[in-house]
């Protein structure tokens, strides 16, 4: 079975190393991965602003590229959340429904489908603060939510615990939103910037050297805030660690 690899626009444009790590990791794990050229965007930025008309083109193109695959994997919780919960600017044909039901976020694919229990090539001897984007947390249910008092669980933590040398530190507000929120980051830049600053300071105060996430959009925002404020943190995507990055 060939799995289609969907790479979000911001990863393709500014963080190709995350795409490379995702691809290499899946290949290492024996997955037959294909990356169709000509990808653009899943339509989320337009749809999140209520502009269904503007989202149509991107959504239709996404379907054209990926409808032929049995499964699609995408290293982005927010994009997969959009695909799963919304993605309705175009007619909901059988083809579209199949795609929506068979698109996986990378962590959930590794944890729930491949059920990976070992990353023997991985070593990351650093203190890390784990950041779950709100899309992966409250929609894709990557981990338990602090508001609900659930029995604690965390898919990214399960995967990362298999990495040699890794150490986890927890910030005071473990699942408060970091403030990216898509176009919110520019439309409400003051609040967004403040949320990002608070988030990186919280992780730094807990002793984190790195912030790790399955969502590059959050990382991009937090990294921008940390660099502006001089908070000495480094940022890395979970795929990079699992793929064997040492730093």
């Amino acid at each position: 079975m060939t799995v289609g690899l969907a790479i979000p626009c911001f990863i393709d444009a500014f963080f190709p190393e995350v795409g490379i790590a995702s691809l290499e990791l899946l290949e290492r794990l024996g997955v037959d991965v294909a990356y169709p050229q000509g990808q653009t965007c899943c339509g989320q930025p337009m749809a999140n602003n209520g502009c269904q008309g503007a989202a149509q083109g991107a959504e239709a193109h996404f379907v054209d590229l990926f409808a032929g695959f049995e499964a699609v994997v995408m290293p982005s919780g927010s994009c997969v959340h959009h695909l799963r919960s919304h993605f309705d600017a175009i007619p909901q044909t059988e083809r579209v429904r199949h795609l929506r039901e068979n698109t996986y976020e990378l962590v959930e694919y590794l944890h729930d489908v491949l059920r990976v229990d070992d990353f023997p090539w991985a070593e990351f001897p650093h203190k890390i603060g784990l950041h779950n984007s709100c899309g992966t947390l409250r929609s894709l249910r990557h981990a338990s939510m602090s508001e609900l008092g659930e029995t604690p669980f965390s898919k990214p933590l399960d995967l990362l615990s298999k990495v040699a040398g890794i150490e986890f530190v927890t910030p005071a507000r473990p699942d408060e939103c970091c403030g990216f929120g898509g176009t919110f980051s520019v439309a409400e830049d003051a609040v967004s910037g403040r949320m990002g600053l608070d988030k990186v300071r919280d992780h730094a105060a807990a002793g984190a050297e790195y912030i790790v996430s399955a969502d590059t959009s959050c990382l991009m925002h937090q990294q921008g805030c940390a660099r502006r404020a001089g908070v000495p943190l480094r940022f890395i995507h979970i795929a990079q660690i699992l793929n064997g990055a040492r730093a």
């Binding site: 930025p45 337009m46 921008g224």
Partner: protein, 465 residues
């Protein structure tokens, strides 16, 4: 929400930016409300049936809303049998006129009132004052705001955006006191001593209602100060203002709601005073005004009627990371925060178009809501209605249309992203971080990579199919 509200759109982002810039106020506001969220969590952990209580509360409210006319009629009959005079008001104007009529019937010139968001909605205070009635807000937070000429910023802690020094200055300007003595105990004592005579002398008293019990005709009011009880029990006239959505069917249902309300709001097991008014004292009168003011219209909205389940706990505000950093006044409406963002556009989509966008859609609000309102889903749905209704700023619509075109075309997309990488690499800092770069106000832009992922893949993983 009333005739006096204009259509000028609320600019949440600008108001929020001003709030963020005021670091001492911002820091306290965020810390205090997060503390309330944590206390709420603490209460939740102590109650194994917490999620079941939320399920019950949600189901009781949805049932009641689906049979609201029947329960209102039952409530009215019970209340009247208990000696309560029941009035009905279609809108804010009728509500205000009814209050004035009752006051005039008793020659009442002074009114002591406890907290009621509905009276804020109806803009009752300016109306009554124009007709010669003197109103005293008896809740300390409301009184501070009244003296400062500001509306409440939070539905449970109305002056949470103020520091003690602000309160000292407001008091010094209005009810006397040393502007430099900001000891909260001294300030609260001063408020107690000056408000008490006003309650003792008041001709009439007014309260809101947290719950109306159809089965018994009882009005339930929850406070921590006891000011509602004084406002209601001192004068010979007690007026209750209540929205029609406050109904619950049975007295026993209070066993669910009272257990959820204060825990969700303040993280305390119950309010100091949970008061139940079923009938007037001997020689006194009790009136209740049942108010629609747009609620029936909201009830008919398929995607949004469940927002009427709201029990006014404020938990959504406490948990909202955007609210904590913008302050309630930035929403420009009686109801602020997440619940405000899904209620206000129903009344005036032009004015409140920005509110559903003052959110990252993170969903924390939905998780803390004791009556399970799917707030963040409703925020998303409002965004669509606002966009389709043409209420988005023209510049934003244009920008999103351009984005839509670029992101639908692989060629345009490649061009745009390559240009962005080039700009980041090449532009001098002063140009890259100009006024036009909203991202760049508080953040650095990402470092530009050598090539896109697609370019790397074209070389290293040429397409097989």
């Amino acid at each position: 929400m009333s005739a006096t509200t204009g259509h000028k759109p609320v600019d949440h982002a600008a108001a929020a930016a001003a709030f963020v810039a005021d670091t001492p106020h911002l820091a306290f506001h965020d810390k205090r409300l997060w503390e309330l969220r944590q206390k709420r969590d603490g209460q939740m952990h102590g109650i194994p049936e917490w999620q079941e209580l939320r399920d019950l509360a949600s189901a009781i409210k949805e049932h009641t809303l689906s049979r609201l006319p029947e329960y209102l009629e039952q409530f009215e009959a019970q209340a009247q049998a208990n000696g309560v005079r029941v009035h009905w008001a279609r809108d804010a104007d009728e509500h205000n006129a009814t209050v004035l009529r009752i006051l005039r019937e008793h020659n009442a010139k002074t009114l002591a009132k406890s907290k009621s968001m509905l009276t804020e909605e109806c803009e009752m205070a300016p109306f009554l004052e124009r007709h010669g009635i003197t109103i005293t807000e008896t809740d300390l937070g409301e009184r501070i705001q009244q003296l400062d000429g500001q509306p409440p910023s939070h539905i449970v802690v109305p002056a949470v955006h103020k520091l003690r020094a602000d309160v000292a200055r407001v008091f010094a300007r209005t009810i006397g006191g040393d502007p430099d003595n900001s000891d909260p105990n001294a300030l609260a004592e001063h408020a107690r001593m000056t408000t008490r005579p006003l309650m003792l002398d008041a001709d009439a008293g007014m309260t809101g209602a947290n719950f109306l019990v159809a089965e018994t005709g009882a009005v339930v009011v929850c406070t921590n100060e006891g000011n509602a009880d004084l406002s209601a029990n001192l004068p010979r006239v007690h007026i209750v203002s209540a929205g029609v959505e406050k109904l619950i069917p049975r007295q026993a249902d209070l066993g669910v709601f009272i257990r959820l309300l204060s825990r969700s709001a303040l993280g305390s097991p119950i309010t100091q005073y949970t008061s139940h008014f079923r009938g007037p004292r001997d020689g006194a009168e009790m009136h209740i005004i049942l108010v629609d003011n747009g609620r029936s219209k909201r009830l008919g909205q398929e995607d949004f009627w469940t927002s009427l389940k709201c029990i006014r706990c404020g938990a959504c505000m406490n948990t909202c990371p955007v609210y904590r950093r913008s302050g309630g006044l930035s929403y420009g409406a009686v109801y602020s925060g997440p619940i405000g963002a899904i209620i206000n556009p129903a009344y005036d989509p032009a004015r409140y178009a920005a509110l559903p966008f003052a959110s990252t859609l993170n969903g924390s609000c939905t998780n803390v809501c004791p009556v399970r309102i799917n707030i963040h889903d409703q925020l998303y749905k409002w965004r669509r209605l606002i966009a389709e209704g043409g209420f988005l700023p023209r510049k934003k619509v244009f920008g999103l249309r351009v984005m839509g075109v670029v992101l639908a075309s692989p060629t345009l997309y490649r061009l745009a992203t390559a240009s962005a990488r080039m700009a980041v690499r090449v532009l001098p800092r002063a140009l890259l971080y100009s006024r036009l770069n909203a991202w760049g106000r508080d953040r650095e832009v990402p470092v530009a990579p050598k090539e896109s992922f697609a370019a790397w893949a074209a070389r290293h993983r040429p397409a097989k199919k």
